[in-house]
């Protein structure tokens, strides 16, 4: 999976540079989040601006990260959701769980 990780100070940015976040590659995203948690990095921004398609496994990986971050008193926030990706969060009511921002800068400013 093409995932760019960058420490932005207030939070670590995970930029998912994939067209799809699905059952094929969401396990890797989950593993990378766990690695960051283990390093004590509990504030994450997952930027999905490159992602055109997300399935239930992709959503599941994000929920997993969200719960882990919260349990460590950190938080996982999202940015850059394309319209159809946003609809997936609405369909599964996850738009009420995640803080969702227009872009990375907005997400960063909220930490």
């Amino acid at each position: 999976m093409n995932l760019q990780i960058e420490d932005k100070g207030a939070a670590v940015l995970m930029d998912v540079k994939e067209e799809r976040l699905d059952a094929h590659n969401s396990g890797e995203l989950k593993a990378q989040m766990l690695k960051l948690f283990e390093e004590g990095k509990n504030n994450l921004i997952v930027d999905l601006s490159s992602v055109r398609f997300v399935d239930s496994s992709g959503l599941g990986a994000l929920v997993s990260g969200f719960k882990n971050a919260s349990s460590r008193s950190g938080s996982l926030k999202l940015s850059g959701l394309q319209l159809q990706v946003k609809s997936m969060f609405e369909l599964t009511r996850l738009h009420r769980v995640f803080e969702i921002f227009g872009d990375v800068d907005e997400a960063l400013a909220s930490f």
Binding site: R20, D22, A23, H24, F53, D55, S56, S57, L59, G60, V63, S64, K67, Q84, S87, M88, L91, T92, R93, L94, R96, V97
Partner: protein, 139 residues
């Protein structure tokens, strides 16, 4: 006004790397539809999604990740009905238990709910050598 008949039959190894191929075929079929009043790009996403969910389930839950097994998918359009069929070689499951939405904080269990949400009719039934998930959408 009846729809042109289109039939696509795909067999791929039991590996998640082929989800993308199957999903894209679903998208392309939506975009090629002749008579469709709705939003074709929404339908493209939905078919991509439903096929991805159903095939991922066949791969992980029924064929238990055995990469040497095969997944068989049928897509047919005729008489303003679109039918998706995903065949598996598993033990079956009680699909009725998974029709309702999960609690948002659950990590798993959204696939069947999503399929129900997008499609008009969903049936899971035994075949000669396994099961088939048959999903119909009226166009």
């Amino acid at each position: 006004m009846s729809t042109d008949r289109v039939a696509v039959d795909v067999k791929v190894p039991n590996q998640t790397r082929y989800l993308c191929l199957i999903g894209h075929i679903g998208e392309n079929i939506a975009r090629a539809l002749k008579h469709y009043g709705g939003d074709k790009e929404k339908l493209a996403y939905d078919l991509n999604l439903v096929l991805t969910e159903a095939v991922a389930n066949a791969i992980r839950h029924a064929n238990e990740g055995d990469p040497s097994k095969e997944v068989h998918i049928e897509i047919t359009i005729a008489d303003r009905q679109l039918v998706l069929r995903v065949y598996d070689h598993g033990q079956g499951f009680d699909i009725g238990q998974f029709a309702a939405p999960r609690h948002p904080m659950e990590e798993h269990g959204r696939g069947i709910y999503i399929i129900h949400n997008v499609m008009d009719e969903v049936v899971y039934r035994p075949t000669d050598d396994g099961y088939v998930l048959e999903m119909t959408k009226n166009l």
